[in-house]
Symmetry: C2
Subunit: 356 residues, 2 copies
């Protein structure tokens, strides 16, 4: 029996190569690429064929493990030098991607105490696979907690792509929809297209459709009318960074949706792994708002849509103040308000989870 | 001395022809077209080269006046028959445009009591010019009232194109910005791009830039962040239809901006002529929300941006409830709340204005 629908994965280890989903070509073409050497991997990351912090980290880890399989030395010392060189090379593919460095360094550390090159090669592959398995586990747990907040028939609005193809599997904000599907529950997703880069239109709709999840696309300015006309029951979003007081940086447009959710009296949820929580950032005021290239706004699909020389304001993300967030959903559970004490408590829970 | 900036007009009478701005080619190309006969005029209206209810009405009126100049009969009766035929032909160019019928019928009525074909020909031209002058006057008065609400240095957000090129001149929501420029006041406009059809990105930025008005383009989902980061002082929008209780139908996205304005505690203004107010519509609940072609959402500049077969919700406009509207600005003045009694009073004022 064939399964008509499946949750797409963005990256998979295949021993002699890495298979990735080419997210650059979505949604027009569903293309999987085989990355056979470290140059292929570098290029795939640099050209945004793979995107989403966890997916980038996993791909880079597999890339480093793949490269190391071809080292011909028997000297652990020479092996480690080559590994460090390749680590630096892959780290240069996207110099601002924190998760990329984290995954690469985790692989380098994993072979600190190996006694042979063979052991090192096996250790790297296992460690890279472990990163993917752990991320899938984190996402699934986020999804289970999030799903506990929804009921059959709920209509839920999301923005951007906090989805399966940005992570190992399931995603964060989209995870509950896949788990609902597995359990035979019907949830109706409304995806905001997410200008300027259109991750909602291009990616969220695509991946939910692959899994047979009911999804409807709207433009970003239809949110208020949609909440009213379609009786939206909740908004759920991912996060780029969560400050110690719960203020949440996420894709531009998130703050506006949180204000709309409050105006309509419906819950606004943030779904994100603990790794997104940065206790060193006290409040959202400390998070500088990155402004990106005006051409993202003035052009669409390569075509100019605004006059030459027009002024543009193009903030890449915004910060939703904690008082607008009904709950933050992590792999360690759901917290509702009182974030300054509850967020550190999640890490204590996590430490306990890892110790057992 | 040449004037470096000018408020663009969308239509102009030139005795032997009508000149229109080809809005279909904006903002990439600034093209003016000469319409030399009734077929040219029909085609310009049908193909959306001219848009905006008042601008369509004015163009059609000029088209009918232009056609009538060529009638070769000396019989008033035959003249009127031909005029009615051409009126019906032009009315078929955009069968849902109420303003089109209103303008054409006003021309037909203007020649009810003429005693010669020559008189009829002159009357038609004068009546068409009068329609344009009246609309320009209405817009200018709206602009003066609106400007009284702003101060030098204000930063004001708008959506869609309630502008000069949609009317005889000045526009409605954009009128105060032109008048401020004339008076040497600095107002800073933020234009929301207005997906799906991008009237903000394509038209509002263009026409304000022609007149040297400071304008910054944002995508629709940047509104909340922009209000916060740029200290937006007010939101001003046009209207498609205003119900007797003040509920206002306007371009999709307007309702969301009104909710954001309330959340930030800044005023939300509707600028529109009395002709937009429909006292027969009791509340916004009576206004059906038109849904348009899904391709407007799934495609951009001819390129598909969403998966084949995706569900789409594409409401063309939304209704902003009256309690979110700080003031309605008309040619007869500004009313703040208490719309159910204040709106009919405006018409009484208008009747008085016409009588004197």
């Amino acid at each position: 029996m064939t399964e008509p629908f499946a949750i797409p994965r963005s990256v998979e280890w295949n021993d002699t190569h890495i298979t990735i989903l080419n997210q650059q070509k979505l949604p027009l073409v569903t293309e999987y690429l085989q990355l056979k050497n470290i140059k292929d991997v570098w290029e795939a990351i640099a050209s945004l064929k793979v995107r989403g912090a966890p997916a980038i980290g996993i791909t880079a880890a597999y890339g480093l493990a793949l490269a190391a399989q071809q080292y011909e030395t028997e000297s652990v010392e020479i092996f480690k030098k080559q590994l460090q060189k390749d680590r630096d090379y892959l780290a240069s593919a996207r110099p601002t991607a924190v998760n990329l460095f984290w995954a690469l360094d985790r692989l380098v550390t994993s072979v600190s105490h190996v006694s042979s090159v063979n052991e090192a090669k096996t250790t790297l592959v296992h460690e890279a696979i472990r990163i993917q398995i752990e991320d899938e586990d984190v996402c699934r747990r986020i999804g289970e907690h999030a799903l506990s907040l929804f009921q059959n028939g709920d209509r839920i609005l999301t923005i951007c792509n906090a989805g399966s193809i940005a992570t190992a599997r399931y995603g964060t904000a989209l995870a509950p929809f896949y788990l609902a599907k597995e359990k035979g529950m019907n949830l109706h997703v409304y995806a905001s297209e997410t200008r300027p880069v259109l991750q909602g239109a291009r990616l969220t709709t695509w991946e939910l459709m692959q899994a047979g999840v009911d999804v409807t696309l709207i433009t970003d300015n239809m949110a208020a009318q949609t909440i009213k006309a379609k009786n939206i029951t909740a908004v759920i979003v991912g996060a780029d960074r969560i400050a110690a007081n719960g203020d949440t940086a996420n894709k531009i447009g998130t703050f506006g949706l949180a204000l709309l959710a409050k105006a309509f009296g419906i819950p606004f949820y943030v779904a994100a792994p603990l790794s997104t929580i940065d206790l060193a950032t006290k409040t959202g005021d400390e998070i500088p708002i990155e402004e990106r290239n005006p051409e993202e706004v003035t052009h669409l699909a390569g075509t100019r849509i605004a006059p030459e020389g027009v002024n543009v304001y193009n903030p890449a993300f915004d910060v939703t103040p904690h008082h607008l967030i009904t709950a933050i959903i992590t792999e360690q559970g759901i917290i509702r308000g009182n974030y300054e004490t509850e967020l550190p408590a999640l890490f204590a829970k996590e430490a306990h989870h890892e110790a057992i």
